[in-house]
Subunit: 650 residues, 2 copies
C-alpha cells in the first residue's frame, strides 16, 4: 500500500500570524537562542548540556589535538544538538538569518572535523568507545544520534540548498550500512532507541537513494528476530551492560525488541521509542508496499489511540522506563506523558495521514499538538516540562517517590534534555502538519493561519488560510491557480459546521471525515465555520481513573482547573451535568483564547471532624468554576492542577 | 500521667468459642505448626526462613563446634523465631501441650547456647558481625531482635512460670545497658527499628526491675538528639552503610530519628517502626509521669488516626520504605497497609487505652483487628498477605512496578516473613485486648466470647461474656464475685444500643464512649444489644482518593466487592445513596457472618466506541451488588477487589 498523499517540504508553507504566530515568534526569538546558550553550557542555574563541549573535544581528537579532557554527560548528547540544528534550519527556511546560519555552519564544521575516516560519526563513540563502537546498541544510542543528525541535515538542505551536511550524513550512513545487515561479517543489529529508521526514510525522500530505504527496511524487519540481538550482545559482553532496574531487564519489551514487529499486538515499552519506531514503520511499510507491515502499523496505532492515550494527547502511563503499561491504565496523578512522546505521536500521525487521510488520525495529532506539546513550554519560552501530568498535587510531588517525576513548575533545562529541543524542531516544522497532498487533492488537517503553494497535476495551486482558530471556529480559505480538489477535516469535537463557497452555502460530501469539494481553476473563496461550543468530554468506562468524571474541551483545546483560581484540594470540585459552560473573556490567554466558567459545587468539610463518617451525606456548596486552557497551566506559580473533575448527574 | 488501667496477663482471660474460637483454633492447630515448619525450612514451594538453621550455627560456634557454614538470610531472623515463641507460649497458656513445650524448650536451649559470655545474644551478630557488634544500629536490628526475644520470654514466663528464658534475656539486657547510655564509654545509640523500648517496659512490668524502665526511657529520649547518632555512625563507618534508595537516605525520618520525639509533629517513616515506637513511648510516658512525653504520644496518635489511617485499619501509604507519606494521602490501589503495621496499631491502641479508656481509640483497635489484620490470613491459615490493599487490579499488579507489591493472592511465606509470625502472636494474645482494668472498674473494649477473672479492690470478680458478635450485636455478660464498676464501649459505628440489667432496661451514663454501671457483689446479668444495621461509610473530603465514594460496614466488619461475584472492572459499579442494603445469609462466612446485597448500577460501555466521548451521558445498567466481608477477600482465587465504590446521589 503506497502513501495516498505526501507531506509538504520546508518553505512550501508560510506560518507567521494567528495563534501559532505567537509560538513561532517565541521559538525563533527566544527558544532557539535560549537553547543555543544551554547547549553551550551558558545557562546559569541549570545543569550543563556538554553537547558542544563534547563535540569540540571529538573534533580536536580527530585532528590530533588532544587536551586530555574527557566526554561528559549521557551518551546521547549529539541528538540534542541535532534537534537544535533541525529547528534552526527551520528558522532559516522561514526567514534568512546570517548570524544563525553562521552558527549552524560552525557546528557542521565541527561535525565534519569529528567524523572519522570511514564515516563513523558519534561524539560519545569517538571519545569513549573507540574501537568498541557498536558494542551496546541497546543502550549506547550511536544509531539514534545518527538518525537525528540525518533529520537535521535534511532540514538544512531543504532550507538552504547546501549539500555539505547531507554529504556528511550520507558518508555516515554508508559506514552504518557496511556494519549492519545480513551479509557475512555484518552485525544483525538494530537501534536500541529507534529514530534512524524514520530518518533514513527522510533521507531517501530527499536523495532518492534506494539504499537508504532498504537499510531502513532491514532495521524494521530484523528487529526482534531470533536470536534476539540484544541478548546476543549481552552474552558477548559477558555481563548485563547497563544497570537497568528489574522492570526493564528481562523481556526487551521496553525496546520493542522482544519479538518481530509483525507479531507485536500492542504498542509497548518506552513511549518515545515506540512512536519513533511506528513512524519509521509507516514510512517503510508504504514504501515497500508490504501490506503485512502496514497492518502492523495500523494495529499498533489503533491500540495506542484506543487504549493508551491521555485526553491531553499524552502517552506513557508510567515513569518506570518512561513507558506504556497496559490497556486502559491511564493514571492522572502519576502520568508520564513525556513531551517527546507526544511529539513523536504527532510524527506518527502525520505519516499515518499520508497513507490515508482520516479525520480521527488528525484529531489525535491536533489533540497532542494543542495540549500536551504546547503545555510543555512556559509562555515566555524559557522553561519546560518533561512530564505533563493531568493532576498535580504538590505535596505528593515533594513527598511521595511515585510522584517525584511530576513537577508543579517547568524547569530551565534537564540532565536529559531531549524535550526542549524536540519541541523547537516541532514548532519550526509546523508547516509539515497542516497539509498533505497528492496530484489531485490537497488535504487540510489543521486550521492554522498560513499561505502555501502546491504543485499539482493541473499546475500550481496557491492556498491562503486566514483564521483566528482556535480563538474561534471561523476559517477563510482563498484558493487560486489550477483546478484541484480540496479537502478539509471536520474535527471530531465539532457538533456542527457550515461551508460557504463564494458566498453560497454548500453541503459537500464527507469522506473519511473530510469535507471535499472540486474547485475550478482561478480564485475560489471558501468559508468554513466550526461550532466551538465548549464540550464535556467523558472517558471509556474501561478506564478506572476517569469513571464518574468529566473534563471540558473547546475546539481542540482542553481545559483544566488550577489552584490559582480555585484554592487547594481541587478534587473537591463537582461540575453538574446540567450546568451551562460559558466563555470567560475576562481571562483571555495568548492567541485570544478565553477561559471557561460554570456554576459548580465544592464538597465542604462536613459536620463530623473525623477521617471516616457513618451515614453522612456529603455537603456540597455552590462555587464558581474557572477553567483555563491546559496549555497555559502552571504559568502563575506552582500549585495544584486538575483536568478530570467529578461530574454531578443532574 | 500514670496509666488509668492495666492490661490482663496471660491466663486471666479464656477465649475458645464464638467468632474468635475459629481463628484461635486455626492459629493453634494450623498456623503455629505451619510456621514451625517454615522456620525449620521445611515448607515446599516457599523461600527458606533460615531462622533455626542460623541459630543452631550460632550455638555450635559458641560451643566451639564450627561447621564452616555461614549465616544466611536477612539480619533480623531471630525476630521471626521470637514471635513464633511468643505465640507458642500463648498456646501453652491456653492449653498445656507437652510436645509444643518441648519444642519451645529446645529453642530456649539453643538461645542459651548461642548467648555470648557477656550476655550478647544475636545470631547475625555472633556469626557475621563478631567484634563489630552494634556497628550499624540503624540497619542491623540487633536491638530489635532482643526486643522480640524479651517479649517471647515474658510470654513464656507468664504461661509456664519458668524463669529460664527471662533470665537469659535479663542477661542480654544487662549487656545492652552496659553498652548504651550517656555515661563515658557508652554509645549514645538507640534502635534503628524500635521494639526494644516496649519490650523493656513489658520486662519491667513482670520483673519490677526499674533499670529496664530507665533503659527504655533512655532510648525514647535519646532518639533524634544532636549529634544524630545514625549520622555519627555513618561517619565512623566512613561510608553509607546500606544501599538505601534516595527516598530513605538523607533525612532519617524513615527511622523516626531525624529529631527528638518531643519535636515530631506527625507520625512518619516506616509504619511498623513508628507504631512500635509509639507503643513504647506511651508505656514510658505513663511510667515516667512525663506529661510532655504523653502529649507527644497523643499528638502522634491523633495525627495517625485523623489523617493517615485506611478505613480497613491499615497504615502505610507507600511501598517506598513501607512508610507513612503525608496527611490525607491514602491511595487505595497502591496502599501498603502492611499486616505488621496494623498489628502494631493494635499494640499502640491498647496502650493508649490503658492510659485513658476512650471509645474512639478502641474503635481504631477493633477496625484494625477485624479488617486489616484478619484479612492477612487465608481462611485455612496457611497463606498470608504482607500488603493489604483496598483495591486490586491484577493487570496492574502484574505489569506496573508501582503496583508490584500488591498481590492478588496470599503467599505461603516471605523472604522477609515478619507478618505471619506477628499475626499468630496477636491471635494467641488476643485476651490482652478485650479488657483493661483498675482496682475499681473493668473496661470491656472488644466484644469477644470469653471468660475472665479480675482481682479488684473488693475481691475477685468473675466475668463471662457470651456473644456471637460480630455475627450479631447481642452480648450477654454474667458478672459474679465482688462489687465493682463495669464499663462497656459503645462502638462508633453503632447508631443505637440497649442495656438490660437483670431483665430491666437501664439507661446508664456514658463516659468517654463507655456505658458504666456499678454492680453489687454477687451475680449480675447484663444484656447489651448493638444495632448492626449495615452502614454507609464516607471519608473526609480532604482525602482525594475517596471523594464521591462510599463503602459498607456492618458492626466492626468492613465489606468489599470481588470479581468472583461481580465480574471484572469493579470500578464501573455504583451504589445509589437511597438503595437499601440487606444481609445476605445465602453467602455466610466463618463465624456466621453474612454477605451484604444491594441494588446498584454498572456503567455500560456506551454507544460510542472510542476512548474519549463528547457530550455522552454515561449509561448505567441496573445490577445486583454482592458484598463480602473484607477479611475473607481473596479466598476464591485471584481477581479484582474493591472497598470504596462510587456513590450515586439519590
Amino acid at each position: 500500500m503506497m502513501k495516498n498523499t505526501q507531506p509538504v517540504s520546508l518553505k512550501q508553507v508560510k506560518i507567521d500570524k494567528g495563534f501559532w504566530g505567537y509560538y513561532r515568534d517565541l521559538a525563533f526569538s527566544s527558544m532557539i537562542p535560549h537553547q543555543w546558550r544551554a547547549l553551550n553550557d551558558d545557562l546559569s542555574d541549570a545543569p550543563p548540556s556538554y553537547s558542544l563541549r563534547n563535540l569540540r573535544l571529538a573534533a580536536d581528537r580527530n585532528r590530533g589535538l588532544s587536551s586530555g579532557e574527557t566526554y561528559q554527560g549521557p551518551c546521547f548528547l549529539d541528538s540534542d544538538l541535532a534537534k537544535w540544528l533541525e529547528a534552526a534550519a527551520g528558522w532559516l527556511a522561514a526567514r534568512p538569518d546570517e548570524q544563525l546560519e553562521k552558527s549552524i555552519d560552525e557546528v557542521i564544521d565541527l561535525l565534519a572535523a569529528a567524523q572519522e575516516a570511514d564515516g563513523y560519526l558519534n561524539t560519545f563513540g569517538s571519545l569513549v568507545l573507540g574501537k568498541n563502537r557498536w558494542r551496546n546498541l541497546r543502550d549506547e544510542h550511536e544509531l539514534y544520534c545518527s538518525g537525528h543528525l540525518i533529520e537535521a541535515a535534511v532540514a538544512y538542505f531543504e532550507a538552504t540548498g547546501k549539500r555539505r551536511f547531507i554529504d556528511i550524513m550520507e558518508r555516515n550512513v554508508a559506514c552504518i550500512a557496511e556494519a549492519f545487515g545480513r551479509e557475512p561479517g555484518q552485525r544483525r543489529g538494530y537501534p536500541g532507541h529507534p529514530e534512524l529508521e524514520l530518518a533514513l526514510m527522510r533521507l531517501f525522500h530527499v536523495t532518492g537513494n534506494p539504499h537508504h530505504a532498504r537499510l531502513a527496511r532491514y532495521f524494521i524487519e530484523e528487529r526482534g528476530q531470533q536470536p534476539l540481538y540484544f541478548e546476543e550482545e549481552k552474552k558477548r559482553a559477558g555481563r548485563e551492560q547497563a544497570d537497568w532496574p528489574p522492570y526493564i531487564r528481562p523481556p526487551l519489551r521496553q525496546y520493542q525488541a522482544h519479538k518481530p514487529l509483525k507479531e507485536q499486538q500492542t504498542l509497548d515499552g518506552h513511549a518515545v521509542r515506540a512512536l519513533y519506531l511506528l513512524s519509521g514503520l509507516v514510512d517503510v511499510a508504504a514504501e515497500s508496499g508490504s501490506s503485512e507491515l502496514m497492518q502492523t502499523a495500523e494495529r499498533l496505532w489503533d491500540n495506542c489511540i484506543r487504549h493508551r492515550l491521555y485526553v491531553t494527547g499524552g502517552v506513557g502511563s508510567t515513569h518506570h522506563g518512561e513507558a506504556f503499561t497496559f490497556d486502559n491504565h491511564l493514571p492522572n496523578g502519576t502520568a508520564y506523558a513525556e513531551t517527546c512522546a507526544s511529539i513523536a505521536l504527532v510524527f506518527a500521525a502525520r505519516r499515518m495521514l499520508e497513507v490515508q487521510p482520516r479525520s480521527a488520525i488528525a484529531d489525535v495529532m491536533e489533540r497532542a499538538l494543542y495540549n500536551n506539546c504546547l503545555a510543555s513550554v512556559q509562555l515566555d519560552g524559557t522553561r519546560f516540562f518533561y512530564v505533563n501530568p493531568l493532576q498535580v498535587w504538590p505535596s505528593a510531588s515533594q513527598q511521595e517517590p511515585d510522584h517525584w517525576h511530576v513537577k508543579p513548575e517547568r524547569q530551565k533545562w534537564f540532565g536529559c534534555a531531549c524535550c526542549p529541543t524536540n519541541l523547537i524542531r516541532l514548532l519550526s516544522s509546523l508547516d509539515r502538519y497542516v497539509f498533505t497532498y497528492n496530484s489531485q487533492t490537497i488535504y487540510q488537517h489543521l486550521y492554522i493561519d498560513s499561505e502555501a503553494v502546491f504543485s499539482m497535476a493541473n499546475g500550481l495551486v496557491q492556498l491562503t488560510c486566514r483564521t483566528r482558530y482556535p480563538a474561534d471556529g471561523a476559517v477563510t480559505l482563498h484558493k487560486d491557480g489550477a483546478a484541484c480538489r480540496l479537502a478539509w477535516r471536520v474535527p471530531g469535537w465539532c457538533r456542527q459546521h457550515t461551508l460557504m463557497q463564494d458566498g453560497r452555502q454548500v453541503v459537500p460530501d464527507i469522506e473519511n471525515g473530510y469535507i471535499q469539494i472540486d474547485c475550478p481553476a482561478g480564485p475560489v473563496t471558501v468559508s468554513l465555520t466550526f461550532d466551538m461550543q465548549p464540550c464535556r468530554v467523558t472517558c471509556d468506562p474501561a478506564v478506572p481513573e476517569n469513571i464518574g468524571k468529566v473534563c471540558l474541551q473547546r475546539g481542540p483545546l482542553l481545559y483544566c482547573l488550577e489552584e490559582a483560581d480555585q484554592g487547594r484540594e481541587l478534587w473537591r470540585l463537582y461540575l453538574p451535568d446540567n450546568s451551562p459552560v460559558d466563555l470567560d473573556w475576562h481571562q483571555a490567554w495568548p492567541g485570544d483564547i478565553p477561559g471557561l466558567k460554570a456554576a459548580g459545587y465544592r464538597q465542604a468539610d462536613g459536620s463530623v471532624d473525623s477521617l471516616y463518617r457513618f451515614a453522612e451525606t456529603p455537603e456540597l456548596v455552590p462555587v464558581r468554576l474557572n477553567f483555563v486552557p491546559y496549555y497555559v497551566w502552571g504559568n502563575r506559580g506552582p500549585g495544584e492542577m486538575l483536568v478530570w473533575l467529578h461530574a454531578l448527574p443532574g
